[in-house]
């Protein structure tokens, strides 16, 4: 399982390094979302600084949907999805590999967005350990749930519209938990963020486990 996961993750990251779709499209989109928030909320009144954690995580959430769609779009060309089934790879390994690749991309995206909220919204990064831990747990949770729903929707003709409807309500707790944890961190009360961090960790573990169990049957459905 781990060997297969490493193989698939390596393949997905290699595809991304060569095609640069996430770098050239998803990342600018996330930054664009940050700028649009500034248009919607009056930047002079300090709203942005207060709302920075929430806006940051909303941008991450939307980008995660795109990243998941991209992750399964590369399997859609030339029937690669069938190739994946034919390859005899362990489905749990494929799930973990694809989720790891999505998580890696989201991690890079979060780093850039963090710089974005510091520069654009004037957020002060404090409690770096909590912020980092939140990013880690939330990213794993998003990638796991996203990959599970990605394969669920991948074989449908309406996947582009259905995936956000299915995925976004499910990851709503991640948005809530990560935002609250970041608020606690930025406000300098890291202790308040602990229960949220635990919630994010539980979410990540639950969806990793469900994904490992469900990916095989879902991949088999052509």
């Amino acid at each position: 399982m781990w060997r297969d996961a490493a193989l698939v993750a390596g393949k997905d990251i290699r595809v991304e390094l060569r095609s640069r779709v996430a770098t050239n499209q998803v990342l600018p989109f996330a930054l664009l979302v940050l700028i649009l928030f500034a248009f919607a909320l009056d930047p002079d009144r300090g709203f942005l600084g207060q709302a920075a954690p929430g806006l940051f995580w909303v941008a991450v959430l939307f980008s995660a949907v795109l990243a998941v769609q991209r992750s399964f779009a590369i399997e859609a060309s030339d029937h690669a999805r069938e190739g994946l089934r034919l390859s005899g790879l362990d489905p749990a390994g494929i799930f973990l590999g694809k989720a790891a690749a999505v998580a890696a991309q989201l991690g890079v995206l979060e780093a850039v967005l963090t710089a974005g909220v510091v520069v654009l919204y004037g957020a002060h990064l404090e409690g770096a350990l909590l912020l980092l831990g939140t990013c880690l747990a939330a990213t794993v949770g998003l990638a796991a749930a996203g990959t599970a729903y990605g394969v669920l929707a991948a074989s449908l003709r309406v996947r582009e519209t259905l995936l956000p409807l299915l995925l976004l309500p499910v990851v709503a707790p991640v948005l809530l938990g990560a935002t609250k944890a970041w608020e606690a961190g930025l406000a300098g009360h890291p202790a308040q963020g602990d229960p949220w961090l635990r919630l994010l960790a539980v979410f990540a573990v639950v969806y990793l486990a469900l994904g490992v169990l469900a990916f095989g049957p879902l991949l088999e459905e052509s």
């Binding site: 669920l152 259905l162 409807l165 299915l166 309500p169 809530l176 459905e221």
Partner: protein, 258 residues
């Protein structure tokens, strides 16, 4: 898919109205209708206004029962999906039950939101507050709207059944997590309408019986609706199954002609 094939030959439906199953269904419907009517009559005209809620207490006879049915329906959908996914109990019965219960659940969840919103307008003066229970119910509503949308995507019955069952489990796993998160986020809603000891004083006598009747009435209506919706699902599958038998015959004739 295999079961659908069997379905083509030996339909399990009880569409003929003389069967005992259908009799139970009709009885459930009649009793459900009567008890809903009784609840409405008791709730609107017979019971007295409450000392601290005034006339508003009347909404209490329908809002919690409707919410209960929504949660019950989603619980049934999740249980049926699990039973479908577990190999030893896999049967098309569970898929149909999950579909029927999910749809009825979405209806009642929507009604929970609307009646809760009316309750909020009357007590807090606003249609919506971001309190824990309203928000998590709204999330639940959207979560299962997605489930129904997934079910409506046309595909092979066996594939759809498995996919929907997995989706139901994935969604259901989110329910406690999102409830907890929203609960921590904000808590404004009065916790527990019946079981809370402070409130129990105000719900007594005829009012308590009316509320209990409300729970039973809407549960019966739920059972009746699910039974009908189940039959619709089964008949629709049979329609497809008979199409399949014809297709198989045509396909073979094609071979003989060649």
């Amino acid at each position: 898919m295999i079961i659908t094939r069997r379905q083509a030959r030996r339909p399990l439906t009880s569409s003929s109205s003389r069967r005992p199953g259908s009799l139970v269904r009709t009885a459930t419907g009649v009793v459900g209708l009567a008890s809903v009517a009784a609840t409405v009559w008791l709730g609107l005209w017979v019971t007295p206004p409450s000392t601290n809620l005034g006339q508003l207490v009347r909404l209490l006879y329908i809002h919690p029962p409707v919410a209960w049915v929504a949660y019950l329906a989603f619980g049934v959908t999740a249980a049926a999906s699990l039973l479908y996914l577990w190999r030893r109990t896999r049967s098309v019965v569970w898929d149909r039950l999950a579909a029927a219960s999910g749809e009825v659940g979405v209806l009642f969840c929507g009604l929970t939101l609307v009646s809760g919103s009316i309750w909020g307008k009357a007590t807090w003066g606003v249609w919506w507050t971001w309190d824990a229970r309203l928000t998590s119910t709204a999330l639940l509503f959207v979560l299962y709207l997605g489930y129904l949308a997934l079910r409506r995507v046309p595909s092979d019955p066996g594939t759809r059944a498995k996919r929907s069952a997995v989706a139901a489990i994935l969604a259901f796993a989110d329910v406690p997590i999102s409830y907890l998160s929203v609960y921590w986020w904000k808590t404004l809603h009065q916790t527990g309408t019946v079981l809370n000891p402070q409130r129990q004083v105000h719900v007594h006598g005829l009012m308590a019986w009316t509320l209990l009747l409300g729970f039973c009435a809407f549960t019966l209506v739920y059972a009746w609706l699910v039974a009908h919706r189940y039959a619709v699902e089964a008949l629709a599958e049979r329609q497809q199954g008979e199409g399949l038998a014809r297709a198989l015959a045509e396909r073979r004739a094609e071979g003989r002609a060649a």
